[in-house]
Symmetry: C2
Subunit: 502 residues, 2 copies
């Protein structure tokens, strides 16, 4: 591990004055004091620093940290810091098991925030002043321009709002990545001048005054690549239902024969939908999304997707090699933006995006829970799902009809937590079918969701609840028996299953 | 009631060819057939036609109507049509008792939609083709330009999407209102070019091809004026808590010493907040809102509010007289926009609006119910509250701490319905205090809400629930006992009170 300047670093650390600040991860970690507020690069488990957080964890002294990032990081950051017991507060999203366990046992305060809004929270110093920004990057140029990796997230705001900065320069990324990013800084009251998916309106680098940079660490290893999530029968059937719907939907006059830009969450259903679109003959697709994963990347390579706006590439090792080998091709087809631009309400609405996100559970009236297990425990967080669901032209939520080997019905009388409300869920899909809820009253939605989306083995019980609720509810707009509405969850917590055993 | 052309109407019905289509309300009503889809003008109980719907109701033949409007209308429209049993389906908002009762007994399908999105639903023909647009207006000019009243709402889209149009020309509005509206029609992918509250970027009139106009009816009476909602001790204390907070909040650096544009819902708390701001010495206020009521109008008159963007003026008879007597002054300070512009996510975000809306109830974790009584019955609808809450720079929800003479606590363990989620509620206020929830974990929010917002007589019970939930919940992120979370509502439905009687 380098901690002295060698000539091969001259393209990575261009400003002479930074050479003396090159140090080992351990030396950098020693600068971190207890109860500091740290802002890390990282979004969608990619683009986060690895050596410095591991050294902070190994040192073990900096307790009570506030850990901020663009979104989720990975095991070397959230995982190691959590295992070392150093995190007191985390925002705005996480997906690491060790950290999740700490949150759910009450040891870490977790503030789950819409990803588009995190930079605003940082600008307003909601979590206090950032003591150190700790940023994985590709290089820093003569003007103090940081070239981020293939993940941008909130790096620009974190660097701007931090008192001091540490760079973890990852030499496994080619310096030719410069130019794939578009760092745009608009002021309040300004129009965001982006009218095409691939418009570039800002700078290719994140500016940082050199005097703020207190440490530079070199990392020569690429770190973990994303695992490709292969489809299965259930995800393929969910995707099939969405494809069939979109093929009809696009015939409606206001689409003029062309699908609007797609946003798609992570995971195997999202992959299957994109493959399905290709196999249905769709061409000239575009994406306005927060993460591009392998399938979308493959369709960009094939020329099926013309262009993608994102804040992170979450790629397998194979796709990363393909990207680096053909950067000129991909820089014409991919723009990496800050998360407050990739997920911006103004732009999501302007483009009439089709938002596709995963639900943990949905209820018969069309409310969606994206975050909580049995009402109390966090899974990951709301992420960008509501950025898109609230402002998209068409919002689709998808979930397998059951979980835990059939012991949990993902369609329930009442969700145990609400993230996207009945007013924001246009379409609900499971492997059994698709319910188009637009323009429907709550009771009309319940009929559709029970018949189309619910698993057959829960359908009679759900219909019984609905009929019972209508017979006892104080009003018939959204009939509920509040003494029974959450009984499926209560039963599951007691017996391990939502089945009544009757 | 005029049904033949007289010379005094020449400024109201300028195109010669429309003179022959002048008819009585009864003749117009005879054109309405059962199961038609009708699009009415009307928003915030203002600007809706009165004579034609009353005649439709009196005739009583047109059953099974789909009734669409900008938002709420009044007793002569929703009220009379509901009492006549003619409404089968209603969207996107209502506030009439007779109609609410029909919805809550299951006789009317009600689709409760974000007001900014209603024009999109209409453009996509989600409720089918509109058979007749029935529009209250001031006049129609030689080019087929309709001058709306002081309420615009969705008139432009309704007229555009309707097969046929009826005009109810209300001669109590002066023709000099022409020029107060800004009718902007952007296409998909276009920037909305509004960067100042009072910018005008469109046309002063709603264009309608003359051949679509099948009936013109004259109404010489102004109809009901809005009742001014006077404050009381509770509303004054809520407002006082908000004012005190805003006076501190505006000192934070990102405000640069100036409050952003305000959005404020209807009612006496909203009135008290505006008066309170004036009395605290705030000047050069602006509003970016959906309704301007008497208090805001008074502050415009006094020069405390420099300008207001709205889609409706809901004024008392006195304020209406003042407006008409000094139209030149007010046309420089008020712009009336379509509801998809007044409530537009792009603009709400661009201006960093401070959104202030009323909750029916909120829970200890910061979720807000704006629409449902005891989980099942609709009150009015979600209106524009989420348009603003989801995209505003700062979102405040306010509610009295108790209702029904203290028998209902408006702060509960778990809300019986969610409209604005924990991720969208920045500040919660009652007469007892204000909880600033930004950057807080669910449990930190619970501590604040119980101590600051809950009524003293419910505080111990709420704290007991929270402690009990922590002791039995399967996880500590958002601790709930799902078998007890809705028990306060269940008790209230059984006994008429949320008090446990212990």
């Amino acid at each position: 591990m380098s901690c002295v300047y060698v000539d091969s670093l001259k393209d990575r650390i261009v400003p002479d004055e930074l050479r003396g600040r090159l140090m080992s991860p351990e030396e950098a970690a020693a600068l971190i004091r207890p109860r500091m507020v740290l802002g890390f690069s990282g979004f969608a488990s990619a683009g986060y620093p690895k050596l410095i957080p591991q050294a902070i964890a190994a040192r073990g002294e900096a307790v009570g940290l506030t850990v901020l990032a663009g979104a989720s990081t990975g095991p070397e950051l959230d995982g190691e810091l959590a295992k070392a017991g150093l995190i007191a507060c985390r925002a705005p999203f996480q997906s690491e098991k060790a950290l999740r366990n700490d949150i759910n046992r009450g040891a870490v305060s977790y503030c789950d925030i819409h990803l588009s809004q995190m930079p605003k929270y940082l600008r307003e110093e909601t979590f206090g002043r950032i003591d150190f920004a700790i940023i994985e990057c590709v290089m820093i140029d003569a003007e103090g321009g940081i070239v981020p990796t293939t993940t941008l997230g909130a790096v620009d705001t974190i660097v701007k709002m931090a008192d001091s900065v540490m760079l973890e320069i990852n030499t496994s990324f080619p310096t030719e990545l410069k130019g794939i990013h578009d760092i745009y800084t608009g002021g309040p009251g300004e129009v965001i001048p982006i009218t095409g998916i691939l418009d570039r309106v800002g700078s290719p680098t994140v500016h940082c005054p050199l005097e703020k940079i207190k440490a530079v660490v070199i990392n020569e290893t690429p770190g973990l690549a994303a695992n490709f999530q292969a489809g299965n029968d259930v995800s393929d059937r969910i995707a099939g239902n969405i494809i069939e719907f979109l093929k009809e939907e696009v015939k409606r006059p206001h689409y003029h024969g062309k699908l609007p830009p797609l946003q798609s969450g992570l995971g195997n259903v999202a992959n299957a939908v994109l493959y399905g679109l290709r196999d249905s003959g769709f061409k000239h697709l575009t994406m306005f999304t927060e993460v591009v994963q392998d399938t979308a990347f493959e369709l960009i390579r094939e020329g099926i997707i013309d262009g993608a706006s994102t804040t992170s590439l979450s790629l397998s090792a194979e796709s990363r090699d393909e990207l680096f080998a053909n950067l000129d091709y991909y820089k014409e087809r991919i723009v990496i933006r800050q998360q407050d631009v990739s997920n911006n309400p103004e732009l999501i609405q302007r483009f009439g995006v089709i938002g596709m996100n995963t639900a943990i559970e949905a209820d018969i009236y069309g409310n969606v829970n994206s975050t909580h297990i049995m009402g109390s425990g966090t899974m990951n967080g709301v992420g960008g799902s509501c950025d898109f669901a609230r402002n998209a032209g068409l919002t689709i939520f998808m979930t397998p009809a059951t979980a835990k080997g059939g012991n949990i019905s993902c369609i329930v009388p009442m969700v145990s937590h609400v993230d996207s409300t009945e007013h924001d869920v246009h379409v609900l899909v499971t492997e059994y079918g698709l319910a188009d809820l637009r323009g429907k009253s709550p009771c009309e939605r319940a009929e559709l969701i029970i018949e189309k989306c619910c698993a057959p083995e829960y359908r009679q019980a759900l219909r019984s609840y609905f009929e019972h609720a209508k017979s006892v509810a104080p009003a018939q707009h959204t009939p509920h028996d509040l003494s029974q509405a959450l009984s499926w969850h209560v039963r599951c917590l007691k017996t391990g299953s939502m089945h009544s055993g009757e």
